[in-house]
Every structure is written in structure tokens, then in C-alpha cells.
């Protein structure tokens, strides 16, 4: 199954055009991998350097919300932006902790 074909299937499932059977029939890990690859492809367009991290963060959300993001470009961009902010904030926290430990 190539990426474009899967993407179309995901869009159809999210919009209700196609029964969920197509995606649900796959094993959970395979589902996650396929969604992850599609998501990674889209995240890489916005944040190529941190695509693996952001993709991992988004994949931890509920699957139906992730599917919703795939078909809603506006919400998807907001989510990626939010993930970057969470990541930057976490990084700053780590820097403070490291500095504290060093002293």
C-alpha cells in the first residue's frame, strides 16, 4: 500500500465516506505505523528537523483525533506549532535542570 493510497483511505474514513473496517482490520501496530508515516510526511513539510519527535508526540493522542488532524490542515498546523512550543519549553526546563545539577 503506497502512501498516497493510504492517505486517501484515511481521509475517507475520517469523513465517513468509507466504513472504518478498512483501517480497523489492520493490527494496531500496523495502524500506528501507517498513520505515523503519513503524519511524518506532513510534519516534515512544516518542521523537517524535529519531525520524528513531533510525530511521536502527536501519535500519543487519541487515534480519532489524529485522523481528524490529517484531514484538517488548519488544525494540523496549529497542533504542530503547539508541539514545537511544548518541546521548546521542555528543552528550556532540561537546561535549567542540567545547570542546577552541574552546580
Amino acid at each position: 500500500m503506497n502512501r498516497l493510497c493510504f492517505f486517501n483511505k484515511v481521509v475517507k474514513v475520517a469523513r465517513g465516506d468509507s466504513p472504518p473496517f478498512d483501517l480497523a482490520s489492520l493490527p494496531p501496530k500496523e495502524q500506528r505505523d501507517l498513520i505515523g508515516e503519513t503524519l511524518f510526511f506532513m510534519v516534515e513539510e512544516l518542521e523537517p528537523q524535529f519531525a520524528p519527535k513531533i510525530t511521536g508526540m502527536i501519535l500519543e493522542l487519541d487515534q480519532d483525533k489524529v485522523l481528524h488532524l490529517l484531514v484538517t490542515p488548519k488544525a494540523f498546523k496549529e497542533m504542530v506549532k503547539e508541539a514545537m512550543e511544548v518541546l521548546a519549553h521542555s528543552f528550556l526546563q532540561q537546561m535549567k535542570i542540567a545547570r542546577g545539577k552541574r552546580c
Binding site: 524535529f50 510525530t55 501519535l59 488544525a75 521548546a88 532540561q94
Partner: protein, 314 residues
Amino acid sequence: MAAITEMATDSNDVINDGGTGDGIEKSTDSKPEIESDDLKPKSKPEYDQMKKLVAMFKKLNPEAKEFFPSYKRNTNQSDDFVIAIKPSGEDNKKVAINRRRRNNYNQGRRVRLPGRASKAQREDSIRRTVYVSDIDQSVTEEGLAGLFSSCGQVVDCRICGDPNSVLRFAFVEFSDDQGARSALSLGGTMIGYYPVRVLPSKTAILPVNPTFLPRSEDEREMCSRTIYCTNVDKNATEDDVNTFFQSACGEVTRLRLLGDQVHSTRIAFVEFAMAESAVAALNCSGIVLGSQPIRVSPSKTPVRSRITRSPSPN
């Protein structure tokens, strides 16, 4: 934006704080767009929409495991590049740990280098040195060095008077370890009138400052008539030392008393008119001069005349 970040980081505080207001505003802004994007627009209560958005943000986990697509996992170069720029906590901790460890390693090495170098040199010198005891008075350093030269090249030889015995002890240093090991087999050999004992040394012979070594045959002959005396009472004068050695061993031609009132003891170099007197002087080890028992050894350096003083006629 800061409020949104806080909301994502600490969910409990965010719900209670004004961040909720920002959340509401955000949901209001995004709702029409979502509807316009859907082919089948659905009307939902504003409360439900806000709740979903908050839940969505709350679950963003900065510690989430990275997801690599199958085509990325096979590319090592890409992985290295990604790892190099990842700001995740784990990598940051690793970097900090590595940095700390490296610093410790450098510091350790820096601190140990001079100590290790001198310690290694000293240990090597000790390995190449043997301790010889039960040496009778007739033996000279030249004789002892000559005997031990059959085991290897002798670098240095020192005979010391033993304060507790009429017999003496010596240290002999070879140019290599093999010479020292061969010398151990000479234990029990008759030197002079008494068999000697040979053991591995536990200390090294300190080298003499080359500028003080004899420069000519005459100075070498002078050394054979000179002794080196330590642990001299600080209140003793040159006359005291001169009188002592002259009465005990023989005529003294030159004498140099080193040290000052600051140090607890002084050092004397005594040159005799005859070599036999210098050999006899070794027996004076342990004799109290003033308030201290002195230690006498053959001197490695001649007593040179001071520029301000003319040489005394022999």
C-alpha cells in the same frame, strides 16, 4: 502563547488559571474554520469543542518516543543528523553526563601526570638499586663498585656508616634491572673480611647535582679523602667539627659547614689529608657531636676553595 504553553505543560494549574480563557478564545477562532474544511459540517456545543481541544493539548508529551518512518530508519546518516539536533531531555542528560565525565577524566590525567612521571622514574630507579649490608671497614666504594660491575654496569655506589653497628651498608645502582637481579646472587660473598648481604633496595639513590661532581683527576682524588656529614648540631661551629674529626681520624685539610640557624641540623663536608682518615671517619656515624648523633658518608663532591679565601698550604 505563553499561557498556551503553560496549559500544555501543567494541566491542573492551567484549568484553574486564566489559560482557560485563552483556550476558549482559541476554540472560538478555530471552530468556523474546522466547519468550513469539513464536507459535512457538524454543529457541536461550544463547551464540548473546548473540552476536546483542552484534552488534545494536555496529551502532548515532550518525552514521547520519536517516530521514524520505515524509509528513515534504514538511513544511518539521517539518524545521526537527527540525533545531533534533538533537544529531548534524555539526549541533553547524556550530553551533560559525557561532558562531566570528560572533565573529570581530563582533570584526573592533568593532576596525575607529574606525580605519575616522577613516581615511575623513582620506581624504576629503585628496581635498579640493591641494598648491601654487613660491609666491613676496609671496603671502599671503588672496591664495592668493582665487585658489582661483574653483574652489570654500575651507575652509582654509596657506602653509609651504620650508627648501630661497626659494619656498614651501601646502595648500588645499576643501569638496568637485570644487573640488580644478578647482584642478588652475590649475597654471602666475602668482601674484605666479612661476607656481605645483598637485598633489593627500598629506596633510590638521589643523583648528585652534576655541577658539584669532580671535574678532574685531582678532584676525584680529593673526593676519596672527603666525607659528608649530616645531622650536625646547629650550634656546632666549624672549629668544633674540625677539632672532633682531627682528634678522631686524622689531619683535616679543608672543612665546609653548611646550614643556618633556621634549619634544625647542619651539613659538613670534611676533607682529610689522607684517604685512610676518610675511611676511618665512617666509624664516627652515631657519635654525638654537640647534642646530635652524626651520620657520615663518603662525599661525592670535593670541597672547593672559596674565591675569597686562598688555598691553605698542605
